[in-house]
Amino acid sequence: MSLPVYLDHASTTPVDPRVATEMAACLSLGGTFGNPSSDGHVYGERARECVEAARARVAAAVGAEPAEVIWTCGATEADNLAIFGLSAHAHGRGRHIVTARTEHKAVLDPCRELERRGWQVTYLQPDRRGLVDPARLAEALRADTVLVSLMHVNNETGVSQDIAAYAAVCERHGGARLHVDAAQSFGKCPLDFGASGADLMSLSAHKAYGPKGAGALLVSRRRGVRIEARQFGGGQERGLRSGTIATHQVVGMGAAFEIAAAEWQSECRRLAVLRERLWHGLESQGGVLRNGAAPDVVAQILNVSFEGVEGESLLAAVAPEVAVSRGSACASASGEASYVLRALGRDQRLAESSLRFSLGRFTTERDIERTVAAVGGALAHLRRIAGACTTAR
């Protein structure tokens, strides 16, 4: 049996073969396998050079300085480091955080943990386009607000938020630092850390054809941002994140980010065409609603609600032909994944019968045709089985 079409790139991407080649060169004897912390020999020195070259590539790709890049093992760790690290540093000035209901759990769960420790957190509601309005943010800021955490591109719907506008609001407030979870945005839309005015930014390699288990937190130097470390021992990353640096992992991230920075625009143009083809194919099945409107949404993502079918069954019925996702991969067991869809005007039931199609670098026209046929077949089958239930409503 042939494998299903992979349209779940927002969950993870395959590693680009060019990236895998660079990673392989850092593993075995004869490669750059040394410990970047080893100070006394050429093996360590070469590994350090690779790590610093990778840092420079990531920095260049996102408009940061190399010294602003703190390696982590993913955006989850970066989000945790940003939120706990900033709050530990700033708690003397206040204990209030502003974020949004539509953030990833890697932001929401640390915020909940801080609430357990006595912090106050305001969870903003997005508007009907799925976006947090900067004016709402301004209203939510208090004298004791020390951190705002708002994402760039939403992992469920692909809507892209105006982080520069949030930065401007925080700037006027004066005391609140802005953390941006950009795990889903790099490679899908313009991203310039320095120009954005953000203080902290989380990145992930495996959403951009790099390896899983690699990421970075950007900490603005120009803006003088200070955070506390969370992982101790060894003093790597200027003491901000101890632990042996995984050379092949950061080299993979560097290669992936360089490639994406060079290719994302043409890739987006190509994928926007495929995405619209997919949408028109699905739309023609009837009872199909698009979540998120064109200019706000990145080219890679199409989120669709299907009338008259139950979501889990729809996913199961298409699974032999197409790999897609309901909500985000790590929130799929909970109902919260649908906050953003409900904000977009979908009722709970429609939100639950929604699929996220996320296209990627290796997606072909043939994949799209196969997807449309599979979803069409599944819809017809399930609607026939559901019979009166759906019309009786």
């Binding site: 139950e310 069954s313 089985i385 019979g387």
Partner: protein, 125 residues
């Protein structure tokens, strides 16, 4: 979500999906779309000699997760050819285990059982 081979088979083939019409049809409906599972079960029965009803045809409609659909299809299939009794062919917990459904799915399978009760009530069993 991982589905057992049996679940996948009944979910994909959905034998007996559809409505029955005409004489001797008893219908039971339970659940709702809002609660995530809705099931309609139907049987056409004929009286056997001893005052019992024998199911000669059964069908279902279902809105719900793969386990709900598979269980409804399986129940319609199992019922066919048997005498109609208030008891399910297997207790609902046994049906859950048969399809290897997680415990949190039990509520949905109870909707299938409720639909069966409705059938029996409609048939006067």
């Amino acid at each position: 979500m991982h589905y057992s081979t049996l679940t996948r088979r009944y979910f994909a083939a959905a034998p007996g999906a559809g409505s029955l019409t005409g004489r001797g049809v008893a219908t039971g409906i339970a659940g709702s779309r809002e609660q995530g599972a809705w099931v309609q079960l139907q049987v056409r029965t004929e009286a056997d000699g001893g005052g019992n009803l024998r199911v000669v045809e059964a069908g279902f409609l279902a809105f719900g997760c793969p386990h709900t659909i598979a269980a409804a299809a399986w129940l319609a299939e199992q019922a066919t050819g048997r005498l109609l009794t208030a008891d399910l062919p297997l207790p609902v917990e046994a049906i859950r285990q048969l399809f290897d459904a997680p415990v949190e799915k039990l509520g949905r399978l109870l909707v299938v059982e409720d639909a069966w009760r409705g059938v029996c009530a409609a048939a006067g069993v």
